[in-house]
């Protein structure tokens, strides 16, 4: 009996998950529709809204991104030097740092940070608007909520998350360089030269490409949760939390798949 109920719940959960993924797909399609077709129907996505979002999501996140990425670089250097010592190959640490920063860590750190800062803010903003009937008010004025709220955020994230990722690359490499030069005694110039020798455009692009995918995930999951808000302030709080947990999970899963297919 209990097993049956468990199975039933699992079934229901699966249906809901599939529905949810379908909804995310529909949101993406609708956002793209407004971005590309909207201007021809005199209902463009407003450029000012994109810039406003870019400022909130991007510019305001720069200091914390720099700090976190620098910390990750230092951490990788400490760990790398410790590991390499056993082989007596401390100087090879540069390769390890360069590759793991650009291919893995920068985009992941930026993705998680932006999901926590901006994905949640988006869910809260849209959720509050649902609860206050502001979304209905937009619709009766003739303003499509996806065009007005989701499309600008999607564009902003698609620009900002990759940009922040490149910035994080630089900060993390710098962090690694500073620690390595102090510990192993390689000069910063030599470190930079070594890094430039091993890094290829492909390595950097792998991180950047992931960043594009993360941006889409953060925007859609934040918006979908916001539109799903019901029942007052408490409901908004719930979907906000849910959007953070969901988008970070989605980012880690997507990262895993990416790495699996691109690294082997």
């Amino acid at each position: 009996m209990n097993a049956l109920r468990g199975l039933e719940n699992l079934g229901r959960g699966t249906v809901r998950a599939v529905e949810e993924v379908g909804y995310l797909g529909a949101l993406l399609a609708e956002s793209l529709y407004w971005l590309f077709v909207g201007p021809f129907r005199k209902q463009p996505v407003r450029v000012e809204a994109v810039f406003q979002q870019m400022r909130q999501v991007g510019v305001n996140a720069v200091p914390i991104v720099l700090m976190l990425a620098f910390g990750v670089g230092v951490m990788l250097a400490i760990q790398g030097i410790h590991t390499m010592k056993t082989f007596g190959a401390e100087s090879k640490v540069v390769i390890g740092i360069a590759l793991s920063v650009t291919r893995e860590f920068s985009s992941l750190i930026v993705g998680i940070l932006v999901a926590g800062r901006s994905g949640s803010a988006m869910a809260a903003r849209i959720g509050t608007m649902v609860v206050n009937q502001e979304i209905d008010a937009l619709r009766v004025i003739g303003i499509n909520p996806v065009r007005y709220l989701v499309a600008p955020a999607l564009v902003a994230l698609l620009i900002v998350v990759p940009a922040l990722t490149v910035l994080a690359d630089i900060a993390a490499l710098f962090g690694g360089a500073v620690y390595t030069s102090l510990d192993v005694g390689i000069s910063l110039a030599a470190y930079a030269q070594d890094t430039a020798d091993v890094l290829t455009v492909d390595d950097v692009m792998q991180g950047v490409n992931k960043a594009f995918v993360f941006a889409v995930l953060i925007a859609l999951i934040g918006a979908a949760n916001g539109f799903g808000a019901t029942g007052g302030a408490e409901g908004v709080g719930k979907v906000t939390t849910r959007s953070v947990v969901m988008s970070i999970s989605a980012i880690v899963m997507a990262d895993m798949l990416f790495t699996f297919f691109l690294t082997r």
């Binding site: 206050n132 009937q133 209905d136 008010a137 009766v140 003739g142 303003i143």
Partner: protein, 270 residues
């Protein structure tokens, strides 16, 4: 009556559901040009629901809704977009955009639908705010307004485009009698000055009798009566009289159904 006048809103056999639950059970109604139609009824009778369907916010289960000659249940999104320029709505809670100033709220429909320059749009929005006695408040945020001011600001936004159809959910709910009387005056003024057709949802009797040309009484998803103020006052329908005299409903209790609800088992299994 008035059959020669143009019906700008024409609803036929409207049936609507929220999930499984049927809310409106086949509503038909005509509203004529330049008329103030008040929709009355007890709490939960389906007034706000009716309004939401009139606004095209949901797709009905069956039936048709014609606004200004166009059936909005069939209309494509571009047609709906054009139609919305001629409709204004003030929601029960105001639904002002909290991230914008009062002035920006009123300007939004103009920015969306017209090519006017900023200065003109600002002047037009201030004119509308003056009209609802909120002159000089355009820089405030919605959170800084009182309940009555929110309703008036929402009204200013609703009439920003000089719509032909104005919908107003509960103008006087939660307001003191003086402010609510002022809003009634304002609604009459709008109809007379701008010749709008106005649909007002309310359960305040005084207000309904003061502004209505005709009244529609909704009860549990059905129309009980459509008539002039006099006709409604003199109606001998019990439910209408209950509503007018604020008498509690005397519902006949079906013992089986009651038992089924209490024990949460379907009737046929009892």
């Amino acid at each position: 009556m008035n059959s020669e006048r143009e019906a700008v809103i024409r609803v036929r056999d409207l049936v609507t559901h929220y999930g499984e639950r049927q809310i409106l059970k086949g509503v038909s109604l005509d509203v004529h040009a330049g008329e103030i139609m008040v929709i009355m009824g007890g709490s939960g009778s389906g007034k706000s629901t009716f309004l939401r369907f009139l606004l095209g916010l949901h797709q009905p289960t069956s039936g048709s809704i014609e606004l200004l000659g166009q059936d909005i249940t069939q209309l494509d999104s571009q047609g709906m977009y054009e139609l919305r320029k001629k409709m204004g709505v003030s929601f029960q809670g105001g639904a002002l955009f909290n991230s914008m100033t009062v002035g920006e709220n009123v300007q939004l429909p103009l920015r969306e639908h017209t090519e006017l320059d900023d200065a003109t749009i600002e002047i037009m929005s201030r004119l509308k705010l003056e009209l609802v006695n909120l002159g000089g408040f355009d820089r405030l945020m919605p959170a800084q307004l009182s309940g009555g001011m929110v309703k008036r600001a929402a009204l200013a936004r609703a009439i920003a485009m000089d719509p032909r159809l104005l919908f107003f959910d509960e103008p006087s709910a939660g307001l003191d009698p003086v402010v609510s009387a002022e809003l009634d005056e304002l609604i009459l003024k709008l109809r007379d000055a701008l010749n709008m057709t106005i649909v007002v949802v309310t359960h305040e009797l005084d207000s309904a009798f003061k502004i209505a040309d005709r009244i529609t009484v909704l009860d549990q998803g059905d129309i009980l009566l459509v008539g002039t103020v006099e006709e409604v006052r003199n109606s001998d329908n019990r439910r209408v009289q209950d509503l007018l005299n604020r008498r509690p409903r005397e519902e006949v209790i079906d013992p089986d159904a009651y038992m089924a609800r209490l024990t949460d088992t379907p009737l046929n299994e009892l």
